[in-house]
């Protein structure tokens, strides 16, 4: 079987398992498992966003938790004002997911645009440090923002709603997250196959060549960075709804690191890398976290093994090198 078919099969398997397990849990009345699957789906969406910048564009953003947090605070603030019946900047709050997602994506896109415009002039370690610095600015800003909870964070008393579903039920919230995950995966695949993806991946491999044939690296990378931030911001809004809580911790640098770890574990630049990586991470946390509080040590060893022996992550291990045609 050739590698391309292996990858498709593996992708289908992952997508199927991520649906089948919570489906079983729903029938067996195991809400905890459903919530875990929802968490995997939402983390995967966030990592799909990062995968555009990091995987396709080679931009190692060590600050993507910023967009996760921005999305989270948009959801939290909207719900807070809807609950109190007050307004924010002249607008009423809302407890509807769809408009919240729209605002979360716009705001995180704007933030990513500013961060990208300033940081994409650098590369390598400087880029990593600047993206980290911006995320830390976000972290400390929310930490000292008493209007929305400061370091205590902001609870969402009633989970925001999605038309036609009761999001208070774990299974129905899972369906929302799973649906959004499939849509973002389709977007990623489309982007990668299109001219934009061809240009972006070429810039990652050889920016001088791309410029010499007339493709300006800066513009393409900036657009990719903004799209990346928007998708991660969307995931942030959903994450806030899952935990019904937003706090500065969402913007912590460890969260940025976790997103990178997800992509490396799953497979950098691979369509289902974020899904595989998120499943591994959450799986580790649950199974080994139950056995020992030092589970991150074991995760670290796995990460080390992946980086040393399986550069393509889980997807690469099974389906070989990425095919770019």
């Amino acid at each position: 079987m050739d590698n391309l078919r292996k990858e498709w099969l593996l992708n289908a398997l992952l997508a199927g398992a991520l649906f089948a397990v919570p489906l079983w849990a729903w029938m067996a009345n195991e809400p905890f498992i459903i919530t875990l699957a929802t968490r995997i789906a939402i983390l995967a969406i966030a990592a799909v966003g990062l995968n555009i910048a990091l995987g396709l564009g080679g931009m190692v953003s060590f600050g993507h938790a910023l967009y996760l947090g921005v999305g989270g605070y948009v959801a939290g603030i909207a719900a807070y004002h809807a609950f109190n019946g007050t307004t924010v900047m002249g607008l009423p709050g809302t407890n509807q997911m769809l408009p919240i997602w729209g605002v979360a994506m716009v705001v995180s896109g704007l933030v990513a645009g500013i961060v990208g415009a300033l940081s994409l002039r650098t590369s390598g370690i400087f880029f990593i440090m600047i993206t980290l610095a911006f995320a830390q600015m976000g972290f400390f800003f929310t930490l000292s923002w008493p209007a929305y909870g400061g370091e205590d964070g902001l609870p969402i008393f009633m989970r925001n709603q999605f038309p036609g579903l009761n999001t208070a039920r774990p299974w129905e919230l899972f369906l929302v997250a799973y649906g959004v995950l499939l849509v973002t995966l389709a977007l990623f695949a489309m982007l990668r196959a299109a001219r934009f993806g061809a240009a972006l991946m070429a810039i990652r491999q050889n920016p001088d060549r791309a410029a010499a044939i007339g493709i300006s690296p800066f513009g393409i990378k900036l657009v990719a960075f903004v799209l990346s931030g928007m998708i991660t911001g969307l995931a942030g809004a959903m994450m806030a709804d899952l935990t019904r809580f937003v706090s500065p911790a969402m913007m912590a640098w460890t969260m940025s690191g976790e997103l990178i770890v997800i992509i490396i574990l799953g497979g950098v630049g691979r369509l289902f890398g974020p899904v595989a990586g998120a499943a591994i991470l959450v799986g580790f946390e649950v199974f080994f976290g139950g056995l020992t509080e030092h589970w991150k040590l074991w995760l670290g060893l796995v990460l080390l093994a992946v980086v040393l022996f399986a550069r393509g992550g889980l997807i690469g291990l099974i389906a070989g090198r990425a095919q770019n045609g």
């Binding site: 240009a199 010499a212 007339g214």
Partner: protein, 250 residues
């Protein structure tokens, strides 16, 4: 003479006390191959950087078809019609030969901000790229990744990529480097035909190829052009013989 396509006017560039490019003026006319030769360290690479836009000059201008492109970025110069190849093959390593050429065709059309249609289903792009690969004799290797091609094949792919840009002039940086005798001979024939399409500024170490191909030759020494003329004039020029050709033709 005919219209100048590429016109370098008094280009200078210093790095500290080192004058890497010293008041270089050079004109490339329609239909000609103009070779730039010079010993190692003469400043050929710096001059190449000034023309392609990688380096900004301290003084002087780069004109393309009468338009001043001195302040344009590398990418914008490429879009304006400057088709360069690299001294060390510089391709997209993970892309197949075909995808490398398709990318150049895409860049020439200027449509890289397209997010929907898969590029692999873009028939005009594929067919155009296939035709160009056939022209340089790489058609059978179209689906091989650039990183897996032989050195000679990569040199040919560089040319195919430059062709895909349909440039107003070619800037070829040592296209013969590392090619065997047979490969060089084939490329000489190819370039001789190519100059009718767009003039070629050829930077080359292979003296035989240069004397066979070039309509005019400029000799660069310590950042200055010390002589410009036909192959015969350059061969006869005593100054050139002294500083450069002396060892090789003696």
């Amino acid at each position: 003479m005919a219209d100048p396509v590429l016109d370098l006017r008094g280009l200078s560039k210093s790095f500290g006390a080192l004058k890497a490019t010293d008041d270089v003026s050079l004109t490339l006319y329609k239909g000609e191959i103009h070779a730039l030769i010079g010993p190692n360290g003469a400043g050929k690479s710096t001059l190449m950087g000034l023309i392609s836009g990688k380096t900004a000059p301290d003084a002087g201008q780069v004109m393309l078809n009468g338009a001043d492109i001195t302040t344009l970025s590398v990418a914008r110069r490429a879009r304006a019609g400057l088709g360069r190849s690299f001294q060390v093959s510089s391709l997209i390593p993970d892309y197949s030969a075909l995808r490398n050429v398709m990318l150049a065709l895409q860049a020439r059309q200027g449509h890289s901000y397209r997010f929907l249609r898969p590029v692999n289903h873009d028939a005009p792009l594929r067919d155009g790229a296939r035709a160009l690969l056939a022209r340089v004799g790489l058609a059978p290797r179209a689906s091989v990744e650039a990183a897996m091609l032989s050195h000679g094949e990569r040199r040919l792919l560089e040319i195919a990529v430059a062709l895909a840009l349909a440039p107003k002039c070619f800037l070829l940086d040592e296209p013969m480097a590392g090619l065997g005798a047979e490969g060089t001979a084939r490329l000489v024939t190819f370039l001789r035909a190519l100059k009718q399409e767009a003039p070629i500024l050829l930077i080359e170490h292979d003296m035989d190829a240069v004397f066979q191909l070039a309509d005019r030759i400029s000799v660069l020494v310590y950042g200055r052009i010390i002589a410009t003329g036909s192959a015969a004039e350059i061969r006869a020029n005593p100054q050139v013989r002294a500083v450069y050709l002396g060892e090789e033709t003696a």
